[in-house]
């Protein structure tokens, strides 16, 4: 990497990209509603995602009420329970986490962190948000249509997803779900192309790929993965729509339903599973990689230390992204497959542990002897590490065929994926919001409310999901509306379920406090100034806070160093911004 070093010299590289004329909004409507400014779009994306996320939160409450106190809540019958499960899962994975990380943080941070004025295609970016909003509305419409939303489980496995026994199967539910997913994918593609091209082709002078903050690396890699993984879901949705609407038999084998032979025959339900998980597994990392990237930056900033092994961290992100496309069938061990395939997918799955472990070690080594500030973003980052390690370890159990088969349909799986792709990324979402809220609004979030939010959420999440491992090992099945009088389930399991439900209510309530904090601090938060965390990355160096339209005033920033010059010996301050000229200034860029 000799040539990169030349970029670190005092000589400013020539401008290759012309400063493209910005779109200037002319009215209130084009300024705040049909806005083409990535920052506004980011806030629109985030607010919509959080709003629909609240729906998912309420659904999880209802599910926990049923599981903890079966029989007390008459309105939650088996059909409703399955509808809640399905909508909760789909909303959390796609409409909340994917949209928030890529549409929210991606839109806000990419242009600012790489020194661009905006995304490269602001108009398509705007359309992306409006299609996303439409997708959300179509999804929600399921609650109000005859038959209610689909209750097929968030994986929507056919044939049950489109049979009459499943809620919404022969009504509107499954249709609006599939239409909504298709709209989401089209909208996401418009945004995703923007994020990728912006990162590749619109960086500031001096911003080499190996000087990008890891946040950008995470979001970038996740977006590339999403552009390659969502097509599989798109195709699966189209085919299932045809099965449901036209009576084709892509996924429908010969079925006798209520003594009646159905018209359809000869299709393959396993084909759907392959398509779904070819999307579904990368999706886990589409959510996790931005979290990895963001948490790296949070830890480095709040431990006042350069990230340990930056280059390894970048390659780990890329390798995890690539590997995640060849592991999908580990979700299908119980569907049955050739043992050789099982062996292959178990092996690739376990290999992912290597780059993932590199990342965890490097986070810990970044903390090692760092000047750790236990700020709210740092607390959430630390919570992420422990939760992620925890979820990762149970992933080793489930990645092995022989261990997975007995555990697969138990609460153990629920515990595993909630730890690893539910709680862990959401911890990063919170950390990131506490970290960047001052840049977005110019005010700090309230610390006291934040502390309560953190401790209740972190400890509460453990108290909810940790006992579920135990329930799973006992053999308590997942996706069951109620357990009933089953001999092998001890009384303690019911008590534990009750405890989990109470904790879920409390943790949910803490999120309402968080939302209140977001609104309260908007007006009453402590003014933060432009760079409250004394961070190095470009978004903290904008002339205005919150950044104005065009981000950088008259002159685009020039980057002289990597994003992690914290506590550099010989420097006047414990951080050196990326746009501080290099001459005579020390850097640790090449030491890593």
């Amino acid at each position: 990497m000799v040539d990169i070093r030349s970029g670190a010299s005092e000589a400013i590289p020539l401008a290759e990209v012309e400063d493209v004329e910005l779109y200037h909004p002319k009215s209130w409507w084009t300024h705040y509603v049909f806005s083409q400014d990535a920052k506004i779009i980011a806030i629109q994306y985030s607010m919509t995602a959080i709003a629909i996320g609240m729906v998912a939160l309420v659904l999880s409450w209802l599910m926990r009420l049923q599981l903890g106190f079966p029989g007390y809540f008459d309105f939650i019958d088996a059909d409703h329970y399955y509808q809640f499960i399905t909508m909760h899962g789909m909303i959390m994975v796609i409409y909340l986490l994917t949209a928030l990380f890529l549409g929210g943080f991606g839109n806000y941070l990419i242009p600012l962190m790489i020194g661009a004025r905006d995304m490269v295609f602001p108009y398509a970016n705007m359309l992306s948000y409006w299609l996303y909003l439409l997708a959300v509305l179509v999804l929600v419409s399921g609650f109000f249509l005859p038959g209610g939303p689909t209750g097929a489980g968030w994986t929507l496995y056919p044939p049950q997803a489109i049979l009459s026994g499943t809620p919404g199967g022969q009504d509107w539910g499954i249709l609006v779900m599939l239409f909504s997913l298709i709209l989401f994918i089209i909208g996401f593609t418009m945004g995703g192309l923007n994020y990728v091209v912006t990162v590749l082709q619109a960086r500031a002078r001096g911003m080499t790929l190996m000087r990008m903050p890891l946040t950008i690396w995470g979001i970038f890699t996740a977006t590339v993965m999403a552009l390659l993984a969502f097509p599989a879901l798109f195709v699966a949705c189209v085919m299932m729509l045809f099965d449901r609407l036209l009576g084709t038999s892509f996924f429908m084998p010969a079925i006798v339903e209520m003594g009646q032979q159905l018209q359809q025959s000869g299709g393959s339900p396993i084909l759907f599973q392959h398509l779904f998980w070819f999307f579904g597994h990368p999706e886990v990392y589409i959510v996790a990689l931005p979290a990895f990237g963001i948490v790296s930056d949070l830890i480095s900033t709040h431990a006042r230390k350069n990230i340990f092994g930056y280059r390894m961290m970048v390659w780990a992100i890329v390798i995890i992204g690539a590997l995640s496309f060849v592991v999908w069938a580990h979700h299908m061990y119980v569907s049955g497959m050739n043992p050789k395939f099982g062996f292959f997918f178990a092996t690739t799955t376990l290999i992912i542990a290597v780059p993932t472990a590199i990342k965890v070690y490097n986070w810990v080594l970044t903390l090692w002897r760092g000047d750790i500030h236990l700020t709210l973003p740092m607390l959430f980052a630390l919570a992420f590490i422990v939760t992620f390690v925890n979820g990762g370890l149970t992933g080793l159990f489930l990645g092995n065929v022989v261990v997975d088969v007995p555990l697969s349909d138990t609460m153990f799986v629920v515990a595993h994926f909630h730890m690893v792709m539910g709680v862990a990324p959401i911890m990063v979402v919170f950390g990131a919001i506490y970290h960047w809220y001052p840049k977005i609004t110019g005010r700090m979030l309230n610390e006291a409310m934040g502390q309560i939010h953190f401790w209740v959420t972190f400890l509460g999440a453990y108290l909810i999901f940790f006992p579920m491992h135990y329930l799973g090992l006992l053999g308590i099945p997942r996706r069951y509306h109620e357990l009933g009088e089953t001999a092998f389930i001890p009384e303690s399991a019911h008590t534990l379920n009750m405890f989990i439900s109470v904790m879920a209510l409390i943790v949910g309530a803490a999120q309402i406090l968080f939302l209140f904090n977001l609104a309260w601090s908007l007006k009453r938060g402590k003014p933060s100034g432009g760079n409250p965390w004394r961070a190095t990355t470009l978004e903290w160096q904008t002339p205005q806070t919150p950044p104005a339209h065009g981000n950088w005033g008259n002159e685009l920033p020039v980057v002289y160093r990597w994003a992690y010059d914290y506590s550099v010996p010989g420097a006047a301050e414990d951080f050196i911004p990326q746009n501080q000229p290099g001459l005579g200034m020390p850097t640790r860029e090449h030491a890593s």
């Binding site: 995703g192 091209v197 790929l209 552009l227 009576g247 084909l271 550099v568 290099g582």
Partner: protein
């Protein structure tokens, strides 16, 4: 441990050779792909994504074809036309393929004339491409109506596995939609070329950005992609 490196070397650095040079170029500042505009980069990445869509469709089709319990109809017979008393297999598809591949040729010429700033010829070549594309779609409509009149439906057909009709209508329909969208784009861009929008730097209706003749090439990228996909559909659906 505190290793500081003086970054100002004061001498010109050598450009690394071979693969290291490629890596250095790709990871250099501002642009990973030098001399590639935003629009062109976007189209390439979009096409990569679209490749995965068609790839999934074709893999799904192959899975269905291999796993059906009833025999698959013989495409040579199904797609034969009786012309002058002779039954000629795949004749319509052959003509369709010829037309579509030819349209790639006229598209390439349009790109060439565009960069020469030959407004008139560029527009004519694009219109010719659009006409060939529309002809393709027209023949596809003929093929569809012929099959439908013979009793092929997405859910059944007279000759064998129901998945034959399902995959046929789905995949050729999805491709035909791509061609139709391409024709619409060709007409829009041809109009812009004809009117001289790219010479006068007239702003776009939606994006209010100035266009240039590269738009012709980007449209061409999409068009060539649609042709290339057809080659695969032809090979896997009709020739298998």
């Amino acid at each position: 441990m505190a290793q500081t490196i003086e970054t100002h070397t004061g001498e010109t650095l050598q450009r690394p050779l071979g693969l290291r040079g490629v890596a250095a170029d790709l990871s250099s500042d501002q642009r990973a792909f030098k001399n590639i505009s935003w629009g062109k980069a976007m189209m390439w990445i979009f096409l990569l994504s679209d490749t995965f869509i068609f790839g999934c469709f074709l893999v799904a089709y192959m899975t269905a074809r291999m796993s059906t319990t009833i025999a698959w109809p013989n495409p040579s017979e199904v797609f034969a036309l009786t012309i002058g008393g002779h039954e000629i297999p795949l004749i319509l598809i052959a003509i369709m393929t010829f037309v579509l591949i030819s349209s790639s040729g006229t598209m390439a010429m349009a790109v060439n004339f565009g960069y020469r700033r030959d407004r008139r010829t560029t527009a004519i070549m694009m219109l010719l491409t659009a006409v060939l594309g529309a002809t393709f779609v027209g023949m596809q409509a003929f093929e569809w109506s012929k099959l439908i009149s013979e009793g092929v439906r997405p859910w059944e057909n007279p000759w064998g596995a129901a998945q034959f009709g399902s995959t046929f209508f789905m995949i050729t329909g999805f491709h035909g939609t791509h061609v139709t969208i391409g024709v619409i784009f060709l007409l829009i861009v041809a109009r812009k070329v004809w009117r001289g929008d790219f010479d006068t730097e007239r702003r776009g209706f939606f994006t209010s950005r100035k266009g240039n003749y590269e738009v012709v090439e980007i449209t061409g990228l999409y068009w060539h992609f649609v042709d290339l996909v057809w080659v695969f559909i032809f090979a896997f659906f009709y020739l298998w």
